[in-house]
């Protein structure tokens, strides 16, 4: 009988909520199995059952403290359908888009400056005492200040469009409940050019890192996969609305321009015995090979072009690295994310100069329906909200597929790949090696639901188990 031991990293540092990585080693320190377990919240669907449908866009923001706006807008889009509205007024749609790009901007900034830049600037093996945002603040203070100020800018846009920083009520079934005043607009215009400039700088860091370290990062947690995202009718990237497109690792279309309300005909949510998280896959391909990636990398791969000039130029540079074929390099997520950062601020600039934002026609009314599906490209990937409402206006069914769920199998694949490449055969599991695993996961910017963040929680626990589940060793990093 071979002896095995298990290395557990729990929870994963600098990703949301609770998650743990388990690496099963055999007696020769070879990786025999590696898994990323997400201890996902359960019960949210039950939490909103029985609630009146118009409360849902506000309620769902409680799911996540990092991307509440994405849930707010996906739910609002589903509720548009419930109230029988297929097309919003220009003011309503543009206000929602501004809110969404504000959210995309601030979320991508948070990930890049706070979570990913320490790995890129100091290296995966650097002392964890300096490989964090405080380390960045000390060594690159200007960069850290930029990150904070860009976050604030995005948050202020959310506040101006959603009405509040949290529990925003901006989007309502059939429209929006406020426009953007000239005074509000002018505040954002004042700092706009600075934000564009800083976004260019962030993109440059991500691009240079990827290009300069291409040979090293090409195999790092990488694998071929399908990719899925929303796409505009003309093939452009559209983060707010569109139809579904899925492509293979080499760029062949699996399906294209699919009406997302029919997602159940194309996507299946698979289950595995060892995880509470679902494992979605493309129905026509099956569970073994039908899983796919979502998020910035998938969006850049699936779209034909980006409709803002600087982001489009950046996309072309990005695609040139893989000769125009889809990029399957896990670490390229960072570069892709920064292209989207620049795209978001370009879209914000476009919208702020659009007089429709001062329009007063905010809501459309229609005939009530019983069912509605709303999709949006959230910062981490495609977000599905699906509801059924009874004749008393109460929600009777809710199905949510969050971006991190779509990326569940890819994150597991990344963990397996890194574990096999970097941990197998190494007699001692160092913190640096363990961080390699986390670096691969962090590329996806997973949001593991808004677990509680009460005082006294969230240590990093590393546990060694033998093959029978006995604890050999345990290390807790506060």
């Amino acid at each position: 009988m071979s002896t095995t031991k298990k290395v557990i990293i729990e929870p994963v540092t600098r990703v949301e909520g609770h998650g743990k990585v388990s690496i099963l080693l055999d007696e020769n320190n070879k990786v025999s199995q590696a898994r990323f377990h997400i201890v996902e919240f359960r019960g949210f669907e039950r939490f909103i059952q029985g609630r009146p449908y118009w409360e849902v866009p506000v309620l769902v923001q409680r799911l996540c403290g990092i991307c509440p706006v994405s849930h707010h807008l996906a739910a609002a889009k589903a509720m548009d359908k419930i109230v029988g509205v297929d097309k919003l007024t220009p003011t309503a749609e543009k206000m929602r888009r501004l809110m969404h790009y504000g959210q995309m901007f601030q979320s991508h900034v948070l990930h890049f400056f706070h979570l990913c830049s320490p790995d890129l600037l100091f290296g995966f093996d650097a002392d964890p005492m300096i490989r964090n945002i405080i380390g960045v603040a000390k060594k690159y203070p200007e960069l850290a200040v930029q990150g904070v100020m860009m976050r604030k800018y995005g948050q202020e846009i959310i506040k101006a469009t959603a009405g509040k920083k949290i529990h925003g009520t901006g989007a309502i079934p059939g429209g929006i409940n406020k426009n953007l005043s000239i005074a509000e607009r002018d505040v954002f215009l004042k700092d706009l050019n600075q934000m564009v400039e800083w976004s260019r700088g962030a993109l440059k860091i991500a691009k240079n890192y990827t290009v300069e370290n291409l040979e090293k990062i090409k195999p790092f947690g990488s694998f071929d996969s399908n990719h899925l995202s929303l796409i505009r009718q003309d093939g452009a990237m559209d983060l707010y609305h569109g139809n579904l497109r899925a492509i293979t690792a080499t760029g062949e279309k699996i399906f294209d321009q699919v009406d997302y309300s029919k997602y159940l005909d194309y996507i299946v949510e698979g289950v595995k015995s060892w995880s509470y998280m679902k494992f979605p896959f493309i129905k026509s391909i099956g569970p073994e090979k039908g899983w796919y990636r979502v998020g910035p990398l998938a969006r850049i791969n699936t779209c034909d072009f980006i409709d803002t000039p600087e982001a489009e130029a950046a996309r072309k540079e990005f695609m040139a690295v893989t000769n125009g074929k889809p990029n399957n390099i896990t670490m390229a997520y960072h570069w892709a994310r920064m292209i989207e950062l620049l795209h978001s601020i370009e879209k914000i600039k476009e919208l702020l100069n659009d007089k429709d934002l001062q329009g007063t026609d905010l809501v459309v009314k229609g005939h009530r329906r019983e069912e509605g599906v709303g999709l949006i490209e959230a910062p981490r990937g495609t977000l599905f909200h699906h509801y059924k409402v009874n004749e008393n206006d109460q929600v009777v069914m809710a199905n949510l597929i969050v971006s991190t769920t779509h990326n569940n199998e890819p994150m597991n694949s990344a963990v397996r790949k890194v574990a096999q490449d970097h941990i197998s055969g190494v007699p001692k599991i160092t913190e640096g090696l363990l961080n390699h695993i986390e670096v691969a996961i962090r590329a996806y910017d997973p949001c593991l639901s808004c677990a509680t963040h009460a005082m006294g929680q969230m240590p990093l626990k590393v546990t060694l188990y033998d093959y029978q589940g006995g604890v050999i060793d345990m290390k807790i990093k506060e």
Binding site: C450, T452, A454, M458
Partner: protein, 155 residues
């Protein structure tokens, strides 16, 4: 301390997670009182940009639910801490204070008000009765504190 000092109170937590909503509940109550010189903010969790707001104040009180403090609440000075233990997109109050000092030369004296909570893991908007009692006591304490501005002696 003089009456002119600028005070920021940040209550944070998720109101849909039972007693995790203690922080935002305090923020809501204190905001309604419109105490001169006191700015109130509320969020699900702390993030890096809170450091900029911290730096604009003389005194900052972070309010959060606590899983293990003495009942009904604890109130302590908060030292800026350059921790490596980042576990998520959110940051700890001591790390926000450290960022505020490091990036913005923050002069703020920071304090942590932890209110004992009991149930955190389920989706539930209502808090436990014990948590509500602790909340009431914490609010009485805060009202007195914000009136007297006697922060150091109270900690």
């Amino acid at each position: 301390m003089t009456a002119e000092i600028k005070v920021l109170l940040i209550g944070y937590g998720n109101p849909a997670r039972g007693d995790d909503g203690l922080g935002p509940a305090v923020a809501e109550i204190i905001e309604q009182k419109k105490i001169p010189g006191v700015t109130v903010d509320s969020d699900y969790q702390l993030t890096v940009e809170d450091s900029a707001q911290v730096a604009e104040n003389d005194v900052v009180i972070f309010v959060d639910a606590s899983v293990d403090c003495a009942e009904p609440f604890s109130f302590e000075p908060l030292m800026a801490k350059e921790s490596s233990g980042f576990s998520s997109h959110s940051v700890e109050p001591a790390e926000v204070a450290a960022l505020a000092e490091s990036l913005f030369n923050s002069p703020a004296k920071c304090f942590m008000l932890g209110i004992r909570g009991y149930i955190f893991e389920q989706f539930k908007e209502d808090m436990t009765e014990k948590a509500k009692n602790n909340l009431q006591k914490a609010v009485v304490f805060l009202e007195n504190l914000l009136e007297t501005k006697n922060f150091v002696a109270s900690a």
